[in-house]
């Protein structure tokens, strides 16, 4: 990943043909250097073309540009080991087979002999810059097996919910009880919770500024068809039993659909008001759920960038500093550490010229 290639695209985001040719040339040289006769370097060796393509994919994923599919189709047949990213092998992952170890899984291509998915070569991209890897956070929606998995591997469990912290009490109590039963510590930083917030300058302004976007989110975006929201096989028997009410209940009610602003606020679906009002509620959230990390959803529904930016600034300047004391007596093993200054990117250097230009 020596070279970024944002400037290698035309105005519509397509790969510059000369750059594509350069990629192919580099790959050929790489293959020849390795003594391979094939045009594409052997997939089990380090493969410049695969890495270049991986870079293309990462770039596409992070900028919304084209992935170099034409290059891929021409040069790297799937079975030769393209830059695969496997994300759907939950069963094997949960069984704790070797690839659950990020160090091993992200360094070299490996065969994946799963029960239902078999891939001769898996080459995970992007590879983490950090050595051996950044702290791992596992998102959860209520499968209690995930608690065991996180405790076993000392990963952070992040409960993602749109229903707010007041409805999460039972679930997080279960998490802490399960950790205790497994002999894991009660470090609050091992858990995170996603909470949507609407922050304004004053309490009075909040509803007016945010309600249209909250309404849009809960009453338009969150409509889930009950027939497939809990399709058979999504969850284990234990998880079904743990979540019996939420899962078999009236989905509309649980998802916060058809509720008024007042109901959504009172029931904790959203934390809304001035920075101080929201701060108090986040503190209560942190204490009642015993979570050391809050994933703050400062954006909701159709909220425009300007409103979200203001809210984010208020959160950063007026809320966060006043919450740092919470659980500061526990070691946070899950907070990412910054790279050494010499290895850090310059601010803004990753933004492509097209995205930075005013619209």
């Amino acid at each position: 990943m020596q070279k970024r290639s944002f400037q290698r695209r035309d105005a519509t985001g397509h790969l510059d043909p000369k750059y594509a040719a350069d990629l192919r040339l580099r790959s050929t040289q790489g293959a020849q250097r390795d003594g391979d006769v094939a045009f594409v370097a052997h997939p089990r060796s380090r493969d410049p073309l695969a890495e270049a393509l991986g870079e293309e994919f990462v770039e596409a994923a992070t900028t919304g540009g084209d992935a170099g599919t034409e290059t891929l189709n021409q040069d790297v047949p799937e079975e030769e080991g393209g830059p695969f990213v496997v994300t759907s092998a939950r069963t094997e992952f949960a069984r704790g087979s070797d690839p659950s170890n990020p160090e091993g899984a992200t360094r070299e291509p490996f065969p994946w002999n799963g029960t239902y998915t078999k891939l001769r070569y898996v080459n995970v991209w992007p590879r983490p810059i950090q050595q051996p890897h950044p702290p791992v956070w596992i998102p959860g929606l209520g499968s209690i097996e995930t608690w065991d998995f996180c405790a076993e591997h000392d990963y952070n469990y992040s409960y993602l919910s749109f229903s707010g912290y007041k409805r999460a009490r039972n679930m997080m109590n279960g998490y802490w009880e399960r950790r205790a039963a497994l002999g894991a510590d009660d470090n609050p930083h091992s858990a995170a919770f996603f909470q949507q917030v609407c922050i304004s300058e004053t309490d009075a302004e909040c509803e007016k500024q945010w309600w249209p976007h909250v309404d849009y989110f809960f009453n338009k975006c969150l409509h889930l068809y009950p027939g497939t929201s809990e399709a058979p096989g999504y969850r284990s028997e234990a998880s079904l039993r743990a979540g019996i009410v939420a899962q078999f209940g009236n989905t509309t009610q649980n998802m916060g659909i058809d509720k008024t602003w007042k109901q959504l606020v009172n029931e904790g679906y959203i934390l809304a008001g001035s920075a101080e009002t929201v701060r108090q509620q986040i503190e209560e959230l942190g204490k009642t759920l015993r979570v050391g990390h809050v994933l703050l959803g400062c954006q909701i529904g159709s909220a425009p960038a300007e409103l979200v930016n203001r809210a984010t600034k208020l959160a950063g300047e007026q809320i966060l500093p006043k919450l740092r004391h919470l659980y500061s007596d526990y070691e946070d093993r899950w907070w990412p550490r910054a790279l050494p200054a010499s290895r850090r990117a310059k601010a803004g250097a990753h933004i492509p010229a097209s995205a930075a230009a005013p619209r």
Partner: protein
């Protein structure tokens, strides 16, 4: 009918633990249930007056632990499991009867080891597919939405009984433990069926139907809305020794909606 007896089958270590219910006396009838599990109040109870009925429950159904599903990795292992149970029970060439999901397993078993089945009765089996008559996706519907696809007459006793289940789907936390178990049972059973039948219940059975050599009855509800009755002829045409019987005023769940008529046809076919 004498009350069915229930016991757990031991198929050896590393194998699923299955509940086996049996009732009645007479020639052996090996029954494979549909996605709703084993029920004796319909045709099965009637059949137990003339046969010794053996009805295993697949993992997730009845008292069979759902974890057993992990031990059946693919369809072939499921069909083989059917024979394992027959062997454990010492059944030799029984009358093999399967309804819907179980009808598919029964047909596949008869195609896989044709010499080990005596006669075969398929009750509205799933497993064959035509784009012009898609089988309804029972895994993508709520119970309330699914019911009209299962019955011809929504006012029949069987349909009304099953409608009770929809009242359990509420936001209130006032269910009894028995009701919770019943709901979870439905989900776990469907999970087992979905493992083999989702998303399109076409397992290639049609290509194997010619292998079935035993006398075969293809029984269908004339008003089946879940799997069109036109599949009956389609299947019978490919099975060498098959007869089709359609039961009038009957939807997909033959044994529940027309228990007497279904049992009578099976009895006639078996010559018992």
């Amino acid at each position: 009918m004498t009350e069915p007896k229930s016991r757990m089958l031991d198929l050896g270590s590393g194998r699923p633990r299955l509940e086996l219910q049996d009732a009645g006396s007479g020639p052996p009838l090996f029954f494979l249930h549909g996605a709703g599990g084993v029920a004796w109040d319909g045709a099965l109870g009637q059949l137990a007056k003339h046969f010794h009925v053996y009805a295993p429950s697949l993992p997730g159904f009845g008292k069979s632990p759902s974890e057993g599903l992990e031990l059946i990795e693919d369809a072939l292992e499921l069909w083989q499991l059917g024979f394992d149970v027959m062997e454990a029970l010492g059944l030799d060439k029984p009358l093999l009867v399967g309804e819907s999901f179980g009808g598919w397993i029964a047909a596949e078993m008869a195609a896989l080891r044709p010499k080990e089945v005596g006669k075969l009765a398929l009750l509205a089996p799933v497993g064959v597919w035509r784009d012009e008559s898609p089988v309804v996706d029972l895994f993508g519907l709520t119970i309330g939405e699914l019911l009209p696809f299962l019955f011809h007459d929504m006012k029949s006793k069987a349909a009304l009984d099953m409608s009770q289940l929809t009242t359990l789907m509420s936001d209130k936390d006032d269910r009894t433990q028995a009701q919770i178990d019943q709901l979870i049972g439905i989900f776990l059973g469907f999970r087992t069926a979905a493992k083999f039948l989702f998303p399109v219940p076409d397992t290639g059975l049609e290509r194997r139907l010619w292998r079935i050599r035993v006398p075969t009855l293809v029984l269908w509800g004339a008003q089946d809305r879940l799997i069109a009755p036109s599949y009956a002829e389609l299947i019978a045409k490919r099975v060498k020794n098959a007869q089709v019987v359609l039961i009038e005023r009957c939807g997909h769940l033959l044994m529940a909606e027309q228990p007497e008529a279904s049992a009578k046809e099976i009895q006639r076919f078996a010559g018992v």
